[in-house]
Subunit: 370 residues, 2 copies
Amino acid sequence: MIPTKSVPEVLHRARELVTPALQRAVRRLSPELRPLAEYHMGWCDADGCPTGSDGGKGIRPALAVLSAEAVGAPGATGVPGAVAVELVHNFSLIHDDVVDEDTERRHRPTVWALFGVGRAVIVGDALVALAQQVVLEPFEAYALDDGARALAGAEQGPATTCVAGVTTFGLAAGARAARCIADATAAMIAGQALDMAFESVSVVDVAGCLAMEAGKTGALLGCASAIGAVLGGADDRVVAALAAYGMELGLAFQAVDDLLGIWGDPAVTGKPAWSDLRQHKKTLPVAAALAESGPGAEELASLLACEHLEEAQIARAAHLVESCGGRQSATDEADRRLASALAALDQGGIVARAHAELADVARFVVEREH
Amino acid sequence: MIPTKSVPEVLHRARELVTPALQRAVRRLSPELRPLAEYHMGWCDADGCPTGSDGGKGIRPALAVLSAEAVGAPGATGVPGAVAVELVHNFSLIHDDVVDEDTERRHRPTVWALFGVGRAVIVGDALVALAQQVVLEPFEAYALDDGARALAGAEQGPATTCVAGVTTFGLAAGARAARCIADATAAMIAGQALDMAFESVSVVDVAGCLAMEAGKTGALLGCASAIGAVLGGADDRVVAALAAYGMELGLAFQAVDDLLGIWGDPAVTGKPAWSDLRQHKKTLPVAAALAESGPGAEELASLLACEHLEEAQIARAAHLVESCGGRQSATDEADRRLASALAALDQGGIVARAHAELADVARFVVEREH
């Protein structure tokens, strides 16, 4: 067994690599949009004054950096991919807040609440376009140097190299990474559309719930976990294994999130007890509980059909989700998906240290208090 | 002089090539989003019933097809680029209607007015991601055939070829086309952000106005005019000439649009006389008129500072824009930009017939009734 650094150290190392590049990318936005993006990222307050924060935990950037190292490339090779994934993730948060009319995120007003719907839509759009530019541009460094360009274009040549201190990669790697980002973005949007459609139906089945979560959460984690390897010029087999690891990890993460949304400790989650039930969210434990036949599931369905629930009714609904097996089912789902993610890493060809660190990150993500 | 087909014939030919591919692309959207996109495109009504319409004039698809032919490639080579450009254009219309709170477009309710802001935001997002997929996917056909893939990846090899009846292009062409789309999308969004910022200032200068129009209109026409050549594997010099043609054409088009926005025939434009002045739009003729010193410009500025204008005041403002030289200035701008567009075509390396047809399309676009 390879001794790994602790997960917080891995996350810290990736943040040190990725945050400066992410901040450089955001500085390229037009002067009208940059302050909104910097506010959303948590780097600045509403007046544009720096907050000193460097953003969240950084799971996605860590996955992108580790996925480059997983195929023997330096972690820096994964950085444009990490930046693109973070830009797409934040685009989706900004637009989701508009769609859901949420006024707060991480205890601060959302972008649309502060700057208006129009500007929130536009700055989200700008982040998606920027994400594509970030993965497609590095190879342009070669345009200045025909020799290096020929090298980069050659299918058999090294996928990455260093010109004038800038790590760049070949045309093929850039195109594959852009494809990876576009596909994940499309899947994420389809997942969001499905989630919106769920609002107008009373019952969602487990398969529908998983399909929605695969799109909304799995696709981008799959992309994050593969894009470093893509930029490192890995073959399709290793890329597919890493993407499967990320997708399974995303589904495990989402199952845990669904559990915390009902039974999470309010002191930790910052949300009231049984939060998702209050909001009538159609999550995995609820879908699994409703799939049971019997009086418990029937009582749950009729409770959830009420527009407004009293405190005692919410507590009763939470009890019913559990007694109908919804809590156990989601817990099993999380465990099964974590096992699948770890199994995907064993498909061979992954550097031992990165393998161990990816496994640690997966356990860390899934084994949050639940 | 090469005898060219009439412009309507050129537009028709491009539409015949592009519309089926565009419809196929839109059919890939998730079932929740596809009806919204098909409604917006004019192909279906609000209930999803086909209208029999194939959309607008199709200037952008024609430019993309002609730009492939301009470098000796078949027009079909430009089709994925034409589809991507149309998807980006329609994304921007859907989001602009949300931002501007416009309830009608082409005499029909806008997407957000019919389906809500949230769904309009999401379907716009889906079109951008789809645009990137459309230009990045064709080379994947090679993945099934290693020999063809090696050929496509080779920098010196033919840029396009035909595998199993599908015209595909090399990795390099796909990456360059994706870059072309991402850059144009980013510039268009920056132009939209600038336009929104203009709403909160009383006066915009000519340079600001042109910068906004270069982003909002020029960038995507530049992309449309170059992307066929990019997919056809043209060298950077020809691509740059075609992109310059499209950018200049976009600025000429916008100058004409600004003229029609004030002096267009209401019977033709479908808008009331002096429409842009009613809405206090900061367009080129107004910016040019305000740049004059003298009592006329001062009177115009004080009129435009009024929140509500009576009919006689609007007529007076239109008169002042003209007497201060704003109408002439915008007319000169349109002529100058058209001349620049035509000059860009002369930079060499463009196939004679496509050269003549591109010139005809430019004259057709600019010489609308003004």
